[in-house]
Symmetry: C2
């Protein structure tokens, strides 16, 4: 059984209520990132995040592990909505089949709780978080770290998932610290 990491011991409290809890998921057939944020319209804080690695497992146990992992995160953190990357293309049909199965597994884990699922294209996520649609992974990691005032840089998978959650907060009309997002051009990795 997948064990979700413990919550941050002292997540930064939101000043205003009601807050909205969003679960971002970056599905992958080798590892799936997830990130939970609370957002109140002006600020977002990370509640939990991590990565479910399944590359050591055979098919179809990978799917089962992904399903259980996301179902456990949903049960533990009780998000209101899910944000997931919109899949438009893949390297080839074989990769697409694998990725599709992983996505089906993690979506089912959320859908069973009747949660709304929102899809965002990679470009719109990068635009919302970094300010440019052609941003690289390291730029997303850096901006997620800044936007959520994280003590250390999250892994690529977790950063992508948190970025999806932030993108949804943005799309809801709850811009996550636009001031910081606008300062992206000052960052040179």
């Amino acid at each position: 059984m997948f064990k979700a990491p413990l919550k941050d011991p002292k997540p930064m409290p939101l000043k205003s209520r009601p807050s909205h809890r969003v679960l971002g998921i970056d599905p992958g057939s080798r590892s799936t990132g997830y990130g939970v944020i609370d957002t109140d319209g002006t600020r977002s804080v990370r509640i939990a995040g991590g990565c479910i690695r399944v590359n050591h497992l055979p098919w179809p146990q990978r799917l089962s592990r992904l399903f259980d992992g996301i179902a456990q995160v949903v049960a533990e953190y009780q998000p209101h909505e899910i944000a997931v990357e919109q899949l438009i293309f893949a390297r080839d049909a074989t990769a697409a089949l694998k990725l599709g199965q992983a996505r089906g597994a993690v979506l089912c884990a959320g859908l069973r709780e009747n949660m709304p699922v929102h899809e965002y294209s990679p470009k719109s996520v990068k635009l919302a978080v970094v300010g440019t649609g052609g941003a690289e992974k390291s730029q997303i990691q850096h901006m997620v770290c800044l936007l959520l005032s994280l003590p250390e840089t999250p892994s690529e998978d977790e950063a992508d998932a948190l970025a999806l959650a932030l993108c949804h907060a943005h799309a809801m009309g709850l811009p996550p610290r636009r001031r910081v997002a606008a300062s992206w051009r000052d960052f040179r990795p």
Copy 2:
């Protein structure tokens, strides 16, 4: 909520015991066929079968419906094992993503019950049921109808699912009426 069709009122009883119950699934992003058979090593009987149509639903509700549908079939008929088509290629990456997601959803519905899942290539299914790896849909429908002594021809999706279950029975060393299978060449659709 998906409603599984009622069991056949009088499924043909197997002469010898113990019997083995196999659920065959033919996943599709528009409709998913399923078929449940009991096999005792010499004969197989259809216990249930049908098709879960989701082409009228938006994504990702399709996945949820597929998941619920297969989960309900599993709960109702309590199969011992699942047989599913091995996906090797797809028309293109976009089609593969959709098909992969549907497959992930239906597999998760079975995997949650800790059932073994067996994959068979389309060619091996056709070989086991029809006797030739290049068989057409109508030939599969006809042979499934003969092998299971069905009163009427099942739909294409259900026939594919029942053929997968029969293929697994065959692979287990439980040949499903080889005599009838060998008579395929006498059939001209």
